[in-house]
Subunit: 119 residues, 2 copies
Amino acid sequence: MAAFHSIEPPPLTESLVDLVAQRFRVLGEPMRIRLLDRLREGEATVGELQQALGASQQNVSKHLGILHAAGMVSRAKRGTSVVYTIADPAVFDICDQVCGGIRRQIAGLESILQTSLPA
Amino acid sequence: MAAFHSIEPPPLTESLVDLVAQRFRVLGEPMRIRLLDRLREGEATVGELQQALGASQQNVSKHLGILHAAGMVSRAKRGTSVVYTIADPAVFDICDQVCGGIRRQIAGLESILQTSLPA
DNA sequence: TGGCTACACAACCACATGCTTGTGCTAGAG
DNA sequence: CTCTAGCACAAGCATGTGGTTGTGTAGCCA
């Protein structure tokens, strides 16, 4: 377990690097971001998510399967439906940080525009 | 700017979702993770990064270009070399959180293995 | 000036991935 | 038992992306 401490920077193991990259790539699809954002409001069935995002049932199911395989959401059969829930709330902290980085970037761009376009 | 507040969950704008996804995808490549991890120790030239990762010069340069376009690293010409530096330290906080998520996941898997494999 | 080093850029190929179409499976309604 | 709704899985196509090869360019050095 000592290999996963990030306090003292150890040169990341190759397998750990792959795990991190894979996890990032799961979050690197707009559809999955939207699914997680919708699930932020609470649990939802596949049909509800499908209607909320305006996508095909198969596509929604596929992305939900990827999110489930990554351990970010959890399934639960309820009648004929399947209810999905956020399994790892830490995903939102990560998204917030990414949004923060984007916000800083945009702020920087705006300051440049304001200085170069005095009009 | 009100569109980027994440305190009260607003339904993410489509363009913002794409930005977030794109940013995640930049971090979704093992080579780029390794580059950032190496740059964590301090600035480095392309040649040093190339030797540290054991990759081709063109490939390293390509990934560095992507990281630079994403605003995560910054260039600086020094003689004939080009020195790269971490431009947005927040990336490491994100990586740490992802590592934390993986750690929790592995811990969960271990507990399952220990209960199902008493030997 | 000629050559060399260090790096970036562009074209190409191979592979991974997203979306659609088609289909199978399960649970409830009748 | 049959029918339907809800969902997951598999194949196929189109696109995006990583890696290599080849080449152009800028900055030293002799």
